[in-house]
Symmetry: C2
Subunit: 321 residues, 2 copies
Amino acid sequence: MILALAGGVGGARLAHGLAQVLDPAELMIAVNTGDDFVHLGLYVAPDIDTVMYTLAGINDPQRGWGVADETWHFMEQLAKLGGETWFQLGDRDLATNVERTRRLTQGQKLSEVTRQLCLSLGVKHSVVPMSDERVRTRVDTDQGQLDFQDYFVRRRAEPKVRGFEYVGANQAQMSAALRDCLSDPALRAVIICPSNPYLSVAPILSIPGVRNAIANAAVPRLAISPIVGGQALKGPAAKIMRELGRESSVVEVARFYRGLIDALVIDGADASLSDEIALTGITPLVTSTVMRDANDRRQLAENVVGFCEQCRLQDVRSAEA
Amino acid sequence: MILALAGGVGGARLAHGLAQVLDPAELMIAVNTGDDFVHLGLYVAPDIDTVMYTLAGINDPQRGWGVADETWHFMEQLAKLGGETWFQLGDRDLATNVERTRRLTQGQKLSEVTRQLCLSLGVKHSVVPMSDERVRTRVDTDQGQLDFQDYFVRRRAEPKVRGFEYVGANQAQMSAALRDCLSDPALRAVIICPSNPYLSVAPILSIPGVRNAIANAAVPRLAISPIVGGQALKGPAAKIMRELGRESSVVEVARFYRGLIDALVIDGADASLSDEIALTGITPLVTSTVMRDANDRRQLAENVVGFCEQCRLQDVRSAEA
């Protein structure tokens, strides 16, 4: 069993690749829910949906979120009615959110609702929320403390970031599936997908027990850098690094995950920074990490799974030595 | 000021006609909310929406409910997700229900929400719910006590009806606008639209004070028969009459409204039943009541308003005599 931690688009793409090369019984994708919020009375879980839609093959590849061939008649009418339109929900995407909200209101856990939605969409691999309890990412910015979606969507990630808070994390429990996976003797590796470290991965790590379980896991733990050539392939990761006074580079990603991972997978474009990464105690692994199409995803997933196997063999050899 | 009581499609059509011949300050349309129910977590108010969409000119004339040029991508996706699909909500219609639910959840009254939705859609005439409190029509049938939408939509009004209950009516207050209208010295007439007497009008009359206020109002009170030639133009009114062991005719409509109205407007097709109607103490008024198009609506509205004026003059003359 391989555990992958994933957030938004980059995470979903690698998760999709992993799902191509691993059987459903061999992969669990634990997804950030710090972005979740209640909007228009609906429980919206953007990262879960991005992973779920991507694995189902119905995601919109251009926008990066929502469903392909989407229509927007609901939003158009809502605009006419003076409703809130800063957060877009397509007509088909809306069905996911209405059905999820209905099931949650009936008392089902987010894990169970997610499992059912995945089943309905033909997703066979396990997609589990990091927690069934509410954790809300808040962004401390030069425009004040902002709810995540206020920062990310309404203000287009334009405010300057000073820090983050994962409200409710201390009181939250990791989901049963994630807990079981982390303590499963069959766990072979932990893969941190190329998601935004602060916005997608840190909320998962903020749930009590997750960071320690990974830090102490006797299995290979790899992250794939979401930064390539100093830039984020998507989203504000590099911008946030600079705003926090750090360099926007794979080295900063390594520093962020120091003490947690064994190896950082970086793109060939950043090969020259391998030595600097090694100084953090993390092994740099160089391959092509940019996922332009389904082949790229599959190839990267194969390479990453191969790296995990290499790390495992090295561990075995060091133990034997 | 003329007060019109309205329910579904027939009521909405005459309300539309009345809105063509009366200024916004001259007309208030009080609408049945006994059909309202919470579905998929949304507060759905079918009769309010039918009246509102019809007055806004955006109703679907074929289906009789919902918005014209509607799309169904939400429902299609909901079906894939295993959601409840027996009650259809189009993509545009959904916006009304989401926005209404959001505002109600914020604490706004249904009256205020309805006013805002009407304003947004350019409806200038007053459309008011019979009450801001929940009243739920329950249908006693040979298949048991059924919620209204279960009877009407899910079971297509097929169960045999034995009676009705308007749950919550005794505890409900009429909406402030309806109360003010009924006690307004400027009230000129009360018009009961050609809506289903049991399903659309009786719930309004079941709100404490409404029936008495109309019965005692010193203004002309007219109903337009929803039955023409023994048949309901739309919906199960005639079927219900037969199931209740009554004749499905304009005479039964007169009996239903006995003690409440001065005159019953019937179609020329039923002119031969005028004498029987007169025996109930209600004056039969014959005209063409079938509304096939906007011209028919306007013509019927003009005739009905004319009848009100005639009744008023007759009252004045009787008082002077």
